[in-house]
């Protein structure tokens, strides 16, 4: 049916647009923060220019990860060759939810990673001697913050590839139930990574800042950062569990 084809394609394009646009807002703000802090600390301490520039570059590259995930999903949505003819409302909901999940799920982690990178640039400018320690700490913190965006990517890929086509003999009630459950799965992980991503970024940023001020306690700081970040992530994991349930229990 041509009408069916149209709305599945529409959902795919809409999902791609949401994914890229929402995540690029966050990526712009986060990376802009890193660049701003880097410029500030270069102005204050021009002699540590090289280290600050290097850490800015690396920090921005890692913060970009969430945006790249969204780009991959958007490309898959646009050129993935899904079965638009026989997909039905279920497929349309899953494609839209995939875009929503990865797009909104990238916002928090990218903000967080941006904050961590900015603080790292600030403290490297202050203490260029310890730039390697701070850089390593920043990388680990940003990777921890990005794990929640990896969760969003996982759910989004599962939405793309494991949701079957709508059965031909499905009633209207079944159709509504299944499509709405799929949308709920996408919304759950998409909104759920916002808080933990930002929170882990805060932890990593404070840790980088303190490592610049008290470089002797770097082991203790690293350990506390690990623990705090791991515990902050648990709500993102609850969201992952709920969206797995919504995906596979119905």
């Amino acid at each position: 049916m041509e009408f069916t084809q149209d709305y599945v394609q529409l959902a795919a394009f809409l999902g791609a647009a949401i994914a890229v646009s929402v995540s690029s807002i966050a990526a712009g703000i986060g990376e802009g923060y890193i660049a701003g802090e880097a410029v500030k600390s270069m102005t204050k301490q021009p002699e540590s220019r090289d280290q600050v520039f290097r850490s800015m570059f690396i920090g921005q590259a890692v913060s970009e990860t969430g945006g790249i995930f969204s780009l991959v999903i958007a490309l898959l949505l646009m050129f993935g060759g899904f079965d638009v003819a026989a997909g039905g409302w279920q497929k349309a909901a899953s494609l839209l939810a995939a875009g929503l999940a990865v797009g909104m799920g990238a916002v928090g982690p990218v903000f967080g990673a941006g904050y961590a990178g900015g603080q790292a640039c600030k403290s490297i400018g202050r203490m260029p001697k310890h730039s390697n320690d701070i850089l390593g700490n920043m990388l680990i913190g940003q990777a921890l913050a990005q794990t929640s965006s990896i969760f969003a990517l996982v759910v989004s890929l599962l939405l793309l590839y494991t949701v079957p086509n709508q059965p031909i003999d499905a009633t209207v009630g079944d159709m509504i139930l299944k499509s709405v459950a799929i949308l709920g799965a996408g919304l759950s992980i998409g909104l759920g990574t916002l808080g933990p991503g930002t929170g882990i970024g805060t932890v990593a940023g404070r840790a980088c800042d303190m490592m610049g001020k008290f470089p002797r306690e770097k082991k203790e700081i690293l350990r506390t950062m690990f623990l705090g970040a791991a515990v902050s992530e648990s709500t993102a994991i609850y969201s992952l569990v709920v969206s797995f349930l919504l995906l596979f229990a119905f």
Partner: protein, 301 residues
């Protein structure tokens, strides 16, 4: 390493394996994602016991297909498969079989490590001995910082958990078809998580006594939200195991999708470096630290 620790390490392994085997037959639903015969496979084992393949036609696997109840080709012994099919049902047989195979390989590697570091020399240590003594003393320091000097005997337990999860995460890097991380199967992290929480409670009972431990959970006057504490204990298992599972699964899916996008021409080295080595090590460490800190919070007064 102390003299008695090796025996203790083997004992802990034995317990972990038994719990894993029991659990892997017990969960009703499995989601398996693998890279078999250079094809991207997503298996979703349904409740009623049929193995269903739900994937776009490009990645259709031709083996291990159970649509008609017939079994496909399986490398290795068929008698073990039959045993699993009898015990767990046909749908679980393949996943349990592959999981067991991978766990045996992990076990073999760890026993190899134990054999390599068996001959302890004081004046002229071998290279593996230096490496693993460094790792051991690293963890001993953490245990001492968190639990105090009296609980230093927890180090073999903590180090075993780390080594097991770490080898499990690293084994996915080996480019042999059919090799997958056992931690990608939810049963494995769930089993280790259950063991960790049981150890926490057992230690707490040992330190505080039975009433001292259950006071928190069974006293509605002092603690009106005691039901939520029980939910919190269950959610500890969920969060500690799903964190590991989600990260490993995520890395695996991303690598598979990227390598399928480039048509398996180029092995994604950078992604393997990040998701395989970096994330695998960090998540193994986080799991271990959480298992340690839960004990520390429970007994620390």
């Amino acid at each position: 390493m102390k003299k008695g620790s090796l025996k203790r390490v083997f004992l802990i392994f034995f317990v972990i394996e038994i719990v894993l085997l029991i659990i892997s037959g017990g969960l009703t639903k499995d989601l398996e994602i693998g890279f078999e015969k250079s094809k991207f496979v997503v298996r979703h084992v349904e409740k009623h016991g049929d193995l269903q393949e739900k994937i776009t036609e490009e990645f259709q696997p031709d083996e291990y297909l159970l649509e008609t109840g017939e079994r496909g080709k399986i490398h290795g012994s068929e008698r073990i498969y039959d045993f699993f099919a009898k015990v767990f049902g046909k749908a679980h047989a393949i996943s349990a079989f592959m999981l067991l195979r991978m766990l045996l390989i992990v076990n073999f590697i760890i026993i190899l490590i134990a054999v390599l570091t068996k001959k302890l020399l004081f004046d002229r240590p071998s290279k593996p001995q230096v490496l693993f003594e460094m790792m051991y003393s690293f963890f001993e320091e953490f245990v001492q910082d968190t639990l105090g000097k009296n609980f230093i005997h927890f180090t073999p337990y903590i180090f075993t958990i780390f080594l097991f999860i770490w080898v499990c995460n690293m084994i996915g890097l080996v480019p042999i078809p059919g090799f997958m991380e056992p931690t990608r199967n939810l049963n494995v992290p769930m089993g280790i998580g259950i063991i960790c929480i049981l150890v926490v409670h057992a230690t707490s009972i040992k330190v505080k006594g039975i009433w001292g431990h259950f006071k928190n959970y069974l006293n509605p006057i002092e603690n009106p939200l005691f039901l939520l504490d029980i939910v919190g204990e269950v959610s500890k298992v969920v969060s500690i195991s799903f964190r590991l599972f989600g990260n490993v699964l995520g890395g695996a899916i991303i690598m598979l999708v990227v390598s399928s996008l480039v048509k398996f021409i180029m092995f994604p080295v950078g992604l393997n470096l990040f998701f395989g080595i970096f994330v695998g090590t960090i998540q193994a460490f986080v799991f271990t630290m959480l298992a340690l800190t839960y004990i520390g919070v429970e007994i620390g007064e």
